[in-house]
Symmetry: C2
Subunit: 231 residues, 2 copies
Amino acid sequence: MAGTRRRIPEATVARLPVYLRILAERFESGVSSMSSEELAEFAGLNAAKVRKDLSYLGSYGTRGVGYDVEFLVYQIRRELGLTHDWHVVIVGAGNLGQALAGYGGFGDRGFPVGGIVDVDPAKIGTVVGGVRVRHVDELAQVVHGRNISIGVIATPGPAAQEAADALVAAGVTSLLNFAPAVISAPHGISVRKVDLAVELQILSYYEQRRATAASNSLRAVPGERGRGASA
Amino acid sequence: MAGTRRRIPEATVARLPVYLRILAERFESGVSSMSSEELAEFAGLNAAKVRKDLSYLGSYGTRGVGYDVEFLVYQIRRELGLTHDWHVVIVGAGNLGQALAGYGGFGDRGFPVGGIVDVDPAKIGTVVGGVRVRHVDELAQVVHGRNISIGVIATPGPAAQEAADALVAAGVTSLLNFAPAVISAPHGISVRKVDLAVELQILSYYEQRRATAASNSLRAVPGERGRGASA
DNA sequence: GATTGTGAAAGCGTTCACAGCC
DNA sequence: GGCTGTGAACGCTTTCACAATC
């Protein structure tokens, strides 16, 4: 009971955290009920999409009324597996790794840093974001000690695949890759990638496009958007 | 001439930076020609997708041979508007802003930090990543002084919309939002969002799913993947 | 009267498969 | 013979529109 949910589309899974943040915030503000229309407004989406997304969780709304905020928060948390904290281990204690560990955003949102490892002897033993850097050879120990299933790759690009392999060997089953490199992992391991430079390059494309469009004619810029917009 | 390209699908635009990084790296390694098959291998994609993506740039391949690496690097750079550096301005000099400024990844990849601003008087004047923090009231000056069109939002969530408004008012036309909040911007402004916690929550979903699937039955876990995989 | 939940339609993006070219 | 470029098929996602329900 409860575990045998029907599969939720990936696009929907990616939006659930957004709904969760909004609903939790509104609940803190004393709001107890919201319609798909309101939620859509806050999320920068349209109401139909919100309703379809929420319908994958079950029929938790009330027609004519809307959704109970507290109940929905609970349901989304449960569906996302956020009923407990998930410790993460960071591989790479360079600029990026230090930045990620130092930035409190992980722990605050239920993903405390359970360990940081590096290969550089000069970094071993230093403390970053309150956590002592250990040698990458101790990765399996760190992973088992804290029961960690999520690894964060914050190495330089060329070392990323090695880091991924080490994480998988240590027993991690999800990878969040910040290194500028494509990594491969065995089937069954979840991999997600965040590349700051790629995001900027995408923005550059639209900037460049705007610029050439403007210099080629005096007509208005055609309707484009990186993602999300309105006002 | 050259500006009137046909529109490139967003999904393709998001992959061009990946091809570019791989091609540039292979070129450095002395490789002068690559097939769609090889490029796909490096990018963790399939050859058909690579060919379709590249076909939006023009017919730059040679049948029976492949693509000229140097030429393709040049074409992708040009299409993405990476023929010159784009200075960015960071709003928010807290943990996240400092981390982003300190992490050299922006400047290295053609997006030097042209300024950082904050509202907190205690932070004004401090130097982060080699750049002096200025007051947010000087935003327009910073933007015009360096001819900046990309703004990076690194404020706490509640201040993100205000930051976006200030950036747009100062003349910025692209926004990269790291704050955990949905922001809205006038039509014609490109907005992209990176939320570290959201990425982790998505991984959490698949972890949780794996866990309940395993405890509910002894059958193998059905084929799921966060994104990318193989090997 | 208001708002959900959902089939059906429309729109995008991916993959196939092969003609066209080197 | 090998590899690109692309129309056509497929599948996933979004949007529409309305019956069901409070």
